[in-house]
């Protein structure tokens, strides 16, 4: 749960959205109003918080809240 909570914190802060909108199925662009620069900042914030490097081809696949949570869970295994 810790990873999920942390991830939601980052999304709320980076995209300046209400916490209750950050549900697993939410798309960053379509549901949370992110633009391309928001996505880059979100990926950079994830890299910083979880101390990982996320290559561009992985970053491109992170389009929903669930994608982000799954990605971080995977790399932390």
């Amino acid at each position: 749960m810790a990873v999920e909570d942390k991830m939601i914190d980052i999304i709320v802060e980076q995209l300046s959205v209400d916490r209750d909108k950050v549900v697993p199925g939410a798309s960053f662009v379509d549901d949370l109003g992110a633009d391309s620069l928001d996505l880059v900042e979100l990926i950079m914030a994830m890299e910083e918080e979880f101390d990982v490097e996320i290559p561009d081809e992985e970053a491109e696949k992170i389009v929903t809240v669930q994608n982000a949570i799954d990605f971080v869970a995977k790399i932390q295994d």
Partner: protein
């Protein structure tokens, strides 16, 4: 004191135009990081002049052409001072010579310092600006980036490159209220131009409608405008400071 509580970093701030920019930004209330690479005495002198006038600053040594060193140094400044609000990419070198005889090294070193240095420093400094939704990046180009100059294919290419960098960065960062602009000095009296023979200097002056060389303070005034909230609605632009010797397009 328009820049109270702001942190500025000026690359190549120890001498010439850079020193004048440091002093001007400090006089407006900013805490100014004076970057230098080769001449600590000159950087200390810039700091001493700032402090004597009641301003605040610090010196920071790194080579803008050394990507890793620049990134580390800028990270340190951000963690120590919490922020960089204003970045002035001023560091520049010349390795003049006619192209037919120009060494590849002379091309590379000028492009590395004058153009890639601005890219690296901006990249390292932009993130906290984006987060804060306020930032100013000011690139110091040159009139020769617009007019060309024989003996300076490397320098003029780098200075023209800064204009393209400025415009693209301005578009990318506009959504975060970070403005990116250029200042393009003309013929300014510094160590860089003092080396020119007197007859060349006199000939150059005849090309300047205002009839004289500019001063580093003239350039610092333009940078001060672009660093302040007076220029809130100005981005992607080049402000020419050249006595009229080139009047743009």
């Amino acid at each position: 004191m328009m820049l109270e509580n702001m942190v500025a970093l000026v690359t190549g701030g120890s001498r010439g135009i850079g020193r004048a920019i440091c002093k001007r930004l400090a006089s407006m209330g900013a805490l100014v990081g004076i970057n230098y690479v080769a001449n600590p005495t000159a950087a200390d002198e810039t700091l001493a002049q700032i402090e004597a006038a009641g301003g605040k600053g610090f010196t920071v040594r790194f080579d803008v052409a050394d990507t890793e060193a620049a990134q580390e140094a800028i990270k340190d400044i951000i963690s120590t001072h919490g922020q960089i609000d204003i970045l002035v990419n001023n560091a520049g070198i010349t390795r003049d010579g006619l192209m037919a005889r120009m060494k590849e090294d002379d091309w590379d070193s000028v492009l590395d310092t004058n153009l890639k240095g601005a890219f690296c420093c901006s990249k390292a400094a932009m993130r906290p600006m984006m987060k804060k939704r306020w930032g100013r990046i000011i690139n110091v180009s040159s009139v020769v980036g617009f007019t060309g100059n024989s003996g300076q294919v490397n320098y003029s290419a780098a200075k023209a490159g800064l204009v393209g960098l400025t415009k693209s960065m301005a578009r990318e960062l506009a959504g975060r209220n970070v403005t990116v602009n250029c200042v393009a000095p003309g013929f300014i009296g510094t160590d860089m131009t003092d080396g020119l023979p007197e007859d060349v200097q006199e000939a150059l002056k005849t090309q300047i409608p205002l009839g004289a060389m500019g001063t580093p303070e003239d350039v610092a005034g333009a940078v001060a405008f672009l660093a302040s909230s007076d220029s809130n609605y100005v981005t992607g632009q080049t402000l020419h400071v050249n006595g009229g010797m080139y009047m743009g397009h």
